[in-house]
């Protein structure tokens, strides 16, 4: 009996694996979203959650619906790109930007910053607020990019649920704030609406680190907790895009538990604030 159970389990796993590859391939061919080089463990988990949510017994059933109902694809995309962040997440990262990166950013007459994988915009608004506090926002343009048009729309609206704002406020204060977060939003009907004057310095746009190329020269890239969802090949591609986008001695910030150590592009960057995973583009030897 035990052997039989094992076989059934192994067979079920193998079928899931095949269906998984087929679904990812179908999404790529039909909708041109490329998840083929995403880290599989997280993607598998997200697909299992999507199966439950859409009441599909198998990935084949899910694939059938995704292929025939475009709105179903967009619902799935929300599951595959689900990303939760807070404003000023990891306050020490933002403090390090203030203390070590801002003084160098000041030397540029105009600034461009790329928030890659901006999801619903928390990081982009946090940087805009920080740069305003440091007197740099007026000469800055922030490119905030993501692959999910739905989250981009949400990000562009700059509206967050008011119960998240208490946490944002604590983070902001710990980031070395020079003002009160409440200076930047209006509260109404259980929501916090962030200031238009911040949004005027942010361009939200559709960009895929898997399939698109460099679109601007920037002084800084912030891409936190995005690379963990990629496999090594895609990580290398993404970090290569950052290298090619950054100006000479430009800055790259990644997530606190991410590292360029295993990356093929490691040599293109030098530690700048090691503890906070802030790198500086290295001079070509």
């Amino acid at each position: 009996v035990d052997a039989q159970i094992e076989t059934d389990y192994a067979l079920a796993s193998r079928k899931f694996e095949i269906e998984f590859q087929l679904l990812i391939e179908a999404v790529y061919q039909l909708y041109h979203y490329d998840f083929r080089d995403y880290a599989q463990a997280s993607l598998r988990r997200r697909l299992r959650i999507a199966m439950l949510r859409f009441r599909c017994e198998t990935l084949s059933q899910l694939q059938d619906r995704v292929m025939r109902e475009p709105q179903m694809f967009h619902a799935l995309l929300d599951h595959l790109t689900v990303q939760v962040s807070d404003m000023f997440r990891d306050p020490s990262y933002f403090r390090a930007l203030r203390e070590h990166v801002v003084p160098l950013l000041r030397t540029y007459p105009s600034l461009k910053v790329w928030v890659a994988g901006c999801s619903s915009g928390e990081e982009a608004y946090s940087l805009a607020i920080l740069l305003r506090e440091e007197g740099l926002l007026s000469r800055t343009l922030i490119y905030a990019t993501d692959i999910n048009p739905h989250t981009l729309q949400k990000a562009e609206s700059g509206i967050y649920s008011i119960d998240r704002v208490a946490g944002f406020t604590v983070n902001h204060r710990e980031s070395g704030a020079r003002s009160s977060l409440s200076d930047y939003y209006t509260a109404a009907y259980g929501r916090a609406i962030f200031d238009k004057s911040l949004r005027e310095h942010i361009v939200f746009s559709d960009h895929s680190l898997a399939t698109d190329s460099v679109f601007a020269e920037v002084q800084m890239v912030s891409c936190r907790n995005v690379l963990i969802y990629f496999n090594k090949a895609l990580q290398d591609r993404a970090v290569g895009l950052f290298r090619d986008s950054l100006c000479r001695q430009g800055f790259l910030g990644i997530g606190s538990k991410e590292s360029l150590r295993f990356s093929a592009q490691a040599a293109a960057f030098a530690d700048f604030v090691r503890q906070e995973k802030i790198y500086q583009k290295a001079e070509v030897a």
């Binding site: 159970i5 094992e6 389990y9 192994a10 796993s13 880290a39 599989q40 463990a41 997280s42 598998r44 988990r45 997200r46 689900v82 990303q83 939760v84 962040s85 907790n225 690379l227 963990i228 969802y229 090594k232 990580q235 997530g255 538990k257 991410e258 590292s259 295993f262």
Partner: protein, 203 residues
């Protein structure tokens, strides 16, 4: 309740989940492990999400095995205890290697025991031993069920000996584990893994 020796002989990795009271419980278990057992050990211990973890500093001096915080894309090494970093889910991926995720909380937790156990069960199947220890929430129950369904060996701390019982009771509710043991006997079980003469454990 017994586990056949041949099932224990297959074990190559141990996944442990704990919450309230977990540090103390782990201090009874992890120091018994020896490098020659060639086991990889994965631990999720619920901790505050907003500060760095001191687990490595606490456990390294007390353990024979190497003790580290798992990093994204890092290959799994045996003879090592890997803790999940605070505020990230820890997953096992093909390789085997580690993957981190910043996905939403699961059972109000990040890292979540369910996330670790489910992904480790996918990769290790009958080569995985899953252990649920003391804790005050329901995280880990679904994960241990996944280990069970994948053919792995499952162990739950005897509830009367757990500092907080909810986690072990939730695990017991979902599936009947292979073994329900007090800490001292879990330590004995762990100490016997991977060696030439694995003890046939009875409880």
């Amino acid at each position: 309740m017994t586990v056949e020796a041949d099932r224990l002989q297959k074990i190559k990795a141990v996944a442990i989940g704990a919450s309230a009271g977990g540090v103390q419980a782990l201090l009874e278990l992890l120091p018994v492990l020896r490098a020659e057992q060639r086991l990889a050990v994965f631990v999720v211990l619920h901790l505050p999400r907003d500060r760095p973890s001191l687990l490595v500093e606490v456990f390294a001096p007390k353990c024979i095995l190497k003790v580290r915080e798992a990093q994204d894309k890092e290959p799994v090494a045996d003879g090592t205890v890997f803790f999940a970093p605070p505020n990230y889910h820890l997953l096992l991926d093909a390789g085997p290697q580690f993957a981190l995720s910043a996905d939403d909380l699961v059972n109000h937790s990040r890292p979540s025991i369910d996330v670790l156990f489910e992904s480790a069960a996918d990769i290790y199947r009958e080569r995985l031993l899953g252990i649920i220890l003391t804790g005050a929430n329901e995280d880990g129950a679904a994960g241990l069920a996944a280990v069970h369904d994948a053919g792995g060996v499952t162990v739950v701390q005897e509830p009367l000996t757990a500092q907080s019982t909810q986690m072990v009771l939730s695990a017991l509710e979902l599936r009947t584990p292979d073994l329900v043991l007090p800490l001292a006997q879990i330590a004995e079980l762990l100490g016997g893994l991977g060696s030439d003469t694995p003890s046939r454990l009875t409880a």
